[in-house]
Every structure is written in structure tokens, then in C-alpha cells.
Symmetry: C2
Subunit: 199 residues, 2 copies
Amino acid sequence: MDNRPAESHLAPVELGKSYRLINHGPTVLVSARHDGVEDVMAASWCCALDYAPPKLTVVLDKATATRALVERSGRFVIQVPTAVQAGMTHAVGNRSLHSEPHKLRECGVELFGIEGHDLPFVAGCSAWLACRLVPEPHNQQAYDLFIGEVVGAWADDRVFRDGHWHFEDADPALRSLHYIAGGHFYAIGEAVVVKGSES
Amino acid sequence: MDNRPAESHLAPVELGKSYRLINHGPTVLVSARHDGVEDVMAASWCCALDYAPPKLTVVLDKATATRALVERSGRFVIQVPTAVQAGMTHAVGNRSLHSEPHKLRECGVELFGIEGHDLPFVAGCSAWLACRLVPEPHNQQAYDLFIGEVVGAWADDRVFRDGHWHFEDADPALRSLHYIAGGHFYAIGEAVVVKGSES
């Protein structure tokens, strides 16, 4: 694995294919900023919802500080952490900005910006989806369920390019994480291709 | 892999841990029955929504025959197909009962029953979640988004037992599938355990 920062491999992904960044069900990081406050949390419960315009759902518990930032700013980032970020992912999912004001620094989270988007992006991930909140008060209140429209998408071109993941050829450190419980994740595994299907 | 039918390994999963069956984001099969008609479709967009009572979301396109059966019967099964079922999973996701009345037989789908649940369960999967539809007409109409309350859960005890997946020790044929696009899946891979976390 080369030592350039991951952002130097950041390449735009066309919106029509952005669902593929999360279609395989990875655990994600949710980040948001409002009025100078930034937070990042982990979420297992994030899922594609539509192709065009691309939308996704994410469950944000009422106890999280990130949720309040999403509600107030009306925007957030969903990003796909890599296998080497398992410890950080677990940490930001178990510590709260409410009680630990230096949570991000202590968890080793590094943020960066992307021009045209007033959002905090987490460095070292493999994919990033900038989202605009689609307000649905009943879902948010009754189910903690938030809908986002994807307005920008990027990926690390060492592992996602030409509209496809290339986990099988990339450094295993770049594999996505899939959380179960109690600190136990699985990394994504081997390719399984159905013969005769269109590519 | 022994040759007994998978159902002989079927063991109940306590409802409080049933979210773990889909927490890692597998592609699922959705099955339903109404008035003697049964259908099975594949869905990548299925996600846990709550712990207690356990709930999940699944996106069901208006064009699918399965959706109509879910709407009419008010119940459905979410099941987790295995790596050896990739061809069948892709087939039921690309063929419609509307135009192919013998779709299930032609796709090699075998159904079985579980006492106390008037639902069609797909044989050979690794996990099954019996769901009661929680009607939310706006979500269903505007987003094709359906909410189910999990009322029964079972798993193949060769690969899920004691509340945990054991992919790393089980036959690779039992690994879950994670769809991207165009017939390309990934199987779930290796365990990644964060040290110092609770189990």
C-alpha cells in the first residue's frame, strides 16, 4: 500500500452508480457539521433506497450528537470505512460527543473538505456520499429513520473504479467492514460472479 | 458439507438477537404468499431498523409480484441466501412471476413451512426472519419502502449459533452474499475483531 494520503486517490463517482458504493451492506460512518460543531458516528443500519435521484436511508438514534447536527444542518456524509479503520469505526460508534468533547481527536479521526460541499469528510475511507436530508418528520420521530438524497459521490480509485468495486485485486486493508455486534466485524470477501449475467 | 437438508439444521434465534442475522448487510430473498400464490424475489436493499421489538426495512419495487403478495397478506419472510445459491438468487431477482408463472420451479427454489407461520420459507438459506408488515402507506407509495416487525427468527446452526455468525469456521458454501450489480456479488470474508471490545 503506498503512503500517499487516501484523498489523493479520491475520484468522483457518477451519481447513477453511487448506490453501488453501499449496495453490499457495509458498516458506514455518518458525519455532519453545524455551527462549527462536527461529529462522526458509526452506523450499521444504512441502506440504498433509490437509483435516480439516488437516495439512501440511515438510522440515527436520538441519543447521538450526530443526529442533532444532521437535523440542524440538513446535510450529512455517509462514508465507507476500510478494514484498517475497524478500531476507529468501533470507537466513534461507542463514544459520544455529548460527554467527550475531544472524541474525534481521541478516536484518531481526520477530516478533510471537498470543494463545493460544506461537509466534514472522514479521511482514509474508501467511498464518500454527500447527502441532502429529505425531511420526513414521522419516520425520524417514530423510527429514527432518515432519508438522504445523494448529491455527490467519490471513491478511492485503488478499490472502486469504472463503476465497480475491485476488492479482489486491491490491498486487503481497503476491504469494507460489516458489523455484527460486540466489536466483531467481517471484512468483505471473495467475488462470486453469476455466469451469463450482464455486466 | 453434509448432505442433510438445511432445514434439519434450523434452530430458533431469540428475537432480541435477530438483527444480527442481517446486520452485516447481506443480499436477501423476500418471500410471501397470498391466496395460494407464492413468490420469491431478491433484494439488496434490506436493513435492520430496531432492536426491540425487532424491525427491518426492505425496498420492494412496484413492478414485483412479491410486493403485491406482501401488501395483500400483510406478512413476508426475509431470508439470507448462501454463496452456493448465488445463481438462484440472481435468477429470482431478474425473472418475474407476472410473466413466468413457473418462475420458482425454473429457478430451482424449494419452499418449506415452519409450524405456526403461514409463510413460504426458502430452503437452503442460512437465516430466516418471519415478518409482520407494519403498514406505512406514505413510505410504501413514495419510496417503495416497507417496514416489517420480526415475529420469528431461525438460522442454520452450522453457521449461526449462540447469537453469533461463525463464517470463519463454517463451510465457505454457507457464506452470505453481498450484491453489487450485473451478476457480481461478494461473499462475506474474514473476521475482524476489535480488541478490548465487549463480546
